[in-house]
Amino acid sequence: MPSLDDVMAKEAETGEDPVKLLLIGDSGLGKTGALVSLAMAGYRLGIVDFDNGADIIKGLLRPHPKDTPTILEKKAAARKNVYIKTLTDDFRAVGGKYQAISASAWTGAAELLADWKVDNLGPVSSWRASQKHVLVIDSLTFAGKAALRFILSMNGRLAAPKPYQSDYGDAQNLLETMLATIYSTGIKCHVIILSHVREVGKAYQIETTKSDGSKGVATVEEPDSRKGYAETGTGRALSPIIGRFFNNVLMVDMVGTGQSARREIITVPNGNIGLKNSAPGLVKARYSIETGLAEYFANMRGETSGPAASTSLALASATSANTR
């Protein structure tokens, strides 16, 4: 049986030590844009885009008048190494309400992971951390919604006003299976899953008396029990356990106010959100969003990171435009 030293020596030698992380944050804070630093550092990104929000990547990798020749060259190389597959379901207006009329995004993603044929990248199981391959799911939230629509569609209830309770459970099972597969040792590339934040508190039920004297049941939340977790798009039950699939749970947050406001990637517990990283001595507590992911990966792997995609000014402008 090899010792831990043997295992670590082998990983260092082969480079097969994937980083698998969950990056959470509120909408518009720059989770998708943060991926660009990895592309600039020479990583190949395969992005399963459920959010249809990858325009920011195009914006950040587009040549900018203030870019130096080196940056222009890096951007050109990065653009060749980013593969985005946008998977969305079709909606249409029916009786003043928008409803889904197809639910193919989930099965599209499953097929992509089995074999990324469209760009000749092969099965995700053949991607390797040593070759700087990264699988990105953007975002877990919308992936969960796609899973739910898939369940509804299969059961002929895509147009139904409200899913059944069991539909959420079935969608959660689909999502959990996907995460378990991605987290398994069968997937040997780096993995980044982006997600929005959901606050979930400990809930319990109590008996109440209604105004007419009849008895009822109410769900109440334990005071101060709310914690932030990844939003899965399939209800609240799965959110608290998503973190178990990852050894690295980071967060994008806005720090400061006014002119000094800036976006950062945070790697240590923050407020009521239980963040974590698998190398507390090697990584920083906070990184700037422009270079953060590349630096984090480099710190985790004992490498040096590459340059930012663009000037801080351009990044801040692009990100602000994205949130308007």
Binding site: S102, A103, F150, G169, N173
Partner: protein, 321 residues
């Protein structure tokens, strides 16, 4: 013993004519019996003894399948939904009529009887009138329902040199989200919850169908959709779920299947199939438990007295190949 086996398998084309008792053509039913208990397999498949009373679950399930199959055939012939529904209901009424006794099929079950059969057929077809799962139409113009398959599974008998075949029938092959899926219908009295779905993976039958779809038909099916119907006294609820496997799981199943065939060949060679006395209480109790509890010397008399014989031949085609 050998004479008994030869006599029993004489008219069963699934068995070897070189090594008596060696089944060459397997389906999920025969392999399922073998995996549960080799002795049960010997009694039910090799010798062909089955209980006189057919299980109400089996009868109901077959009728439900047949009625819905009739709907698919009618739609493929150009009937609209209402017309095809009438065809399905008529078939349900006809097949649940006991011609010999001149009266409806009598069932002791409050959940599975003629009323719940017809109701379930109507409710299902009403709920899925605009079914997103479209039955694939084969090149011959017929719908892909009760689709029979039979192919060389890649193993050969050491004793007889014959190639083993994998056979079966797929309830329905459908297109959903531009992908092919195998659909299998299941009826149950129990709630269609996590426990219901858990029983289908791993599952002998589902693994066989998945292998057939991907390897036998080379169709690269996206998975299997279990089309569940929960039968209640006052209604029927429908729920669909999926079973998906990757190539690694298929390879594992194929290897396991080969090992089971080796065991089956060994038992045929020694003309002896041992009991798995840990399986006797499963699935509500094995119907052969009473037989196996008797002394070997008297078992044959008890078999002949309490059971009747039928030939289980996986090579018998039901639908279209």
């Amino acid at each position: 013993m050998l004479d008994l086996i030869r006599q029993a398998t004489l008219n069963n084309s699934a068995f070897s004519t070189i090594l008596p008792g060696l089944q060459i053509a397997w389906d999920s039913t025969s392999m399922g019996a073998f995996k549960e208990c080799p002795r049960k397999y010997y009694l039910s498949i090799v010798l062909g003894y089955v209980p006189r009373e057919t299980s109400v679950h089996l009868i109901f399930g077959q009728m439900y399948h047949t009625a819905l199959e009739a709907y698919d055939h009618a739609k493929a012939r150009g009937h609209d939904h209402k017309s095809a529904l009438r065809v399905a209901v008529k078939v349900a009424m006809v097949i649940s009529w006991n011609k010999e006794l001149g009266r409806p099929w009598q069932s002791d079950s409050t959940y599975k009887n003629r009323l719940t059969l017809v109701r379930s057929v109507i409710w299902y077809l009403d709920q899925f009138e605009n079914d997103p799962l479209e039955t694939i139409i084969l090149a011959n113009g017929k719908p892909a329902v009760e689709l029979s398959f039979r192919f060389d599974v890649g193993y050969r008998s050491v004793c007889s040199g014959e190639n083993f075949l994998l056979c079966g029938h797929l309830d329905r092959v459908v297109k959903f989200n531009e992908r092919n899926w195998i659909l299998d219908r299941k009826t149950t009295q129990h709630q269609i919850d996590d426990r219901f779905w858990a029983q289908w993976n791993p599952n002998n039958q589902m693994s066989t169908y998945d292998f057939a779809g991907n390897v036998g038909f080379n169709a690269k099916t996206a998975g299997i959709i279990i089309d569940g119907a929960q039968l209640l006294v006052g209604g029927t609820r429908f729920k669909r779920g999926i079973v998906q496997k990757d190539d690694d799981q298929r390879n594992e199943w194929h290897m396991d299947f080969g090992l089971q065939l080796q065991m089956a060949e060994h038992y045929a060679k020694i003309s002896y199939w041992p009991m798995n006395d840990k399986s006797c209480g499963n699935y509500g109790g094995c119907p052969y438990q009473g037989i196996c509890a008797k002394s070997p010397a008297v078992r044959q008399q008890w078999l002949e007295g309490s059971m009747h014989k039928r030939v289980w031949d996986p090579l018998q085609v039901r639908g279209d190949i």
